[in-house]
């Protein structure tokens, strides 16, 4: 119990003194996760919206696959990305293994299906409401997709957050392709795992607290934004 309380006090001291190692790990975690979310949004929003709006052969199959891929095991994704970007893999010449880029790729693969599947659901609901009106305006399908994404923007914020939550908390894939290398690919989750195994609970706890605070802050911000949008009838 004493160890636990001393670990807590150490953790707070690291946070309040803005420990350089700690800040580096947090910075890398955020940049990797935000980059992965950005990539996933660029792919997932249009993919989800098109799956919701456009009738094409295999649409239902794609929707089922997207839903199924939401539960992709991170370690398996890490392994697959590892096989592709390792020296012997098809993209080995790009020297991506054990780099932040590799971690972004792995996280993007993990969260793109989440963003796409949830986007499909949000857009499908809005499309039911707008469909006849937009067709009566003879709006082309590309414009329908853009209109729906724009008008569903506050709902889609929750989707983005779900993706970000998955990315920032992810361990399995990033440790396989990133390697948890100090000052290069060490992020909060991999550092927590490592420091815990080493018995350095202070840093692990400090990172854990920050991870929790980050997750809570982002969700609270989204909740407030969405709530105010709903009160204004935009969402």
């Amino acid at each position: 119990m004493q160890d636990f309380s001393s670990a807590f006090s150490l953790a707070f001291s690291l946070i309040f003194n803005a420990d350089a190692d700690l800040m580096e790990i947090i910075g890398l975690s955020l940049s990797v996760s935000f980059s992965a979310v950005f990539v996933a949004v660029i792919i997932g929003f249009p993919l989800g919206a098109v799956t919701a709006v456009v009738r094409f052969p295999g649409r239902q199959v794609l929707a089922v696959i997207l839903n199924a891929l939401m539960g992709l095991p991170p370690v398996v994704v890490g392994l697959l990305v590892y096989l592709v970007i390792s020296r012997a893999g098809p993209l080995g010449w790009m020297n991506l293994l054990y780099s932040p880029t590799a971690m972004i790729i792995a996280q993007s693969i993990l969260i793109t299906p989440i963003i796409a599947a949830l986007t499909r659901q949000v857009i499908e609901d809005l499309h039911k409401e707008y469909d006849e009106q937009l067709r009566s305006f003879c709006v082309p399908i590309s414009c329908v997709v853009v209109t729906l994404i724009w008008d569903a923007r506050y709902s889609l914020l929750t989707v983005v957050l779900a993706g970000f939550g998955r990315a920032i908390a992810e361990v399995g894939a990033v440790i396989v392709v990133g390697g948890n290398i100090d000052h290069l690919t060490r992020v909060m989750t991999t550092a927590i795992a490592l420091e815990t195994s080493k018995g350095d609970l202070a840093l692990a706890l400090a990172l854990g607290i920050i991870l929790l605070v980050l997750a809570l802050s982002i969700n609270a911000a989204a909740y407030i934004l969405r709530g105010s949008a709903q009160r204004s009838a935009y969402a």
Binding site: Y130, Q133, R135, S136, F137, C138, C143, A152, A233, Y234
Partner: protein, 267 residues
């Protein structure tokens, strides 16, 4: 003979006209409307049964009938939101296509407003139908539309926070902003009070006076009396009669029409 439509691909913004009115793109009237052997079924159920009629006159054509008569279905087919089994609708000798649909506007019973401000709802159609770019003239036109609808002061409010009557006025203003040649309305005043109904009807009369052909679906006999130039009476998915307003109200030709006008229950 219809004039071909030429779209200019601008290589330079300076070459692009600020706006292009629909009237400059299309000048021919969409009338007459000829409906021949129009049927519509869902599965085995026949919802519209062999409708035949011709509409040549401008003004307001009221589609009248009880609930379930097929009125809404009929006007959705006229506008091309639904497709019949066989091509059965001709506007001025042309089969219904996208170009013709763009010259029409449809207002629904329950207004479907974008999750945007009042002004942005008007902007949405202006940028698609009238203007190529948002210029000072664009803003002027939008403000004029909002003034005409009596919604200028609410222009920055979220459209979906307007009252039911204001929402329907906005939906009508948005439809008229597309400068349609044909305006189709599906029971636009069904859930509105008398004052708002009066405002909507006044706007419709103004539109009619500008030469816009109006198809109005209603089951409100009093409204039909006020607005109709001709009446299409529907019952059970069939067009029972199509006559001038005077003929229909003074000498209804069918038993169903007589019963409907007398307020008797129709089955």
């Amino acid at each position: 003979m219809r004039r071909p439509i030429f779209y200019v691909v601008a290589l330079n913004d300076q070459l692009m006209p600020e706006f292009m009115l629909k009237s400059e793109r299309q000048s021919s009237s969409l009338l007459p409307l000829v409906v021949q052997n129009l049927s519509f079924r869902v599965g085995e159920k026949l919802l519209l049964d062999n409708i035949n009629t011709t509409v040549s006159s401008t003004g307001v054509s009221v589609v009248l009938g009880a609930n379930g008569a097929g009125k809404s279905l009929f006007v959705r087919l006229l506008h091309g939101l639904l497709k019949s089994e066989q091509p059965a609708i001709q506007w001025n000798g042309q089969m219904l296509d996208l170009a013709i649909r763009k010259r029409q506007a449809l207002v629904f019973q329950k207004p479907v407003l974008l999750r945007r401000s009042v002004a942005a709802n008007i902007d949405f159609v202006l940028t698609r139908f009238i203007f190529r770019r948002k210029t000072a003239h664009f803003i002027q036109q939008r403000n004029a539309v909002l003034h005409e609808a009596g919604l200028f002061d609410q222009r920055n409010q979220p459209a979906r926070l307007l009252s039911g009557g204001e929402q329907q006025r906005l939906a009508l203003a948005r439809a008229l902003a597309t400068e349609p040649e044909v305006l189709i309305l599906d029971e636009p005043t069904a859930s509105l009070d008398a004052a708002t109904t009066f405002q909507i009807e006044t706007r419709l009369e103004q539109a009619r006076d500008k030469g816009i052909k109006i198809f109005l679906v209603t089951h409100d006999i009093a409204q039909a009396r006020r607005l109709a130039d001709d009446v299409m009476f529907m019952h059970g998915g069939r067009l029972i009669g199509h006559s001038t307003s005077n003929e229909f109200f003074n000498h209804p030709s069918s038993e169903q029409a007589k019963a409907y006008l007398e307020g008797r229950l129709l089955f």
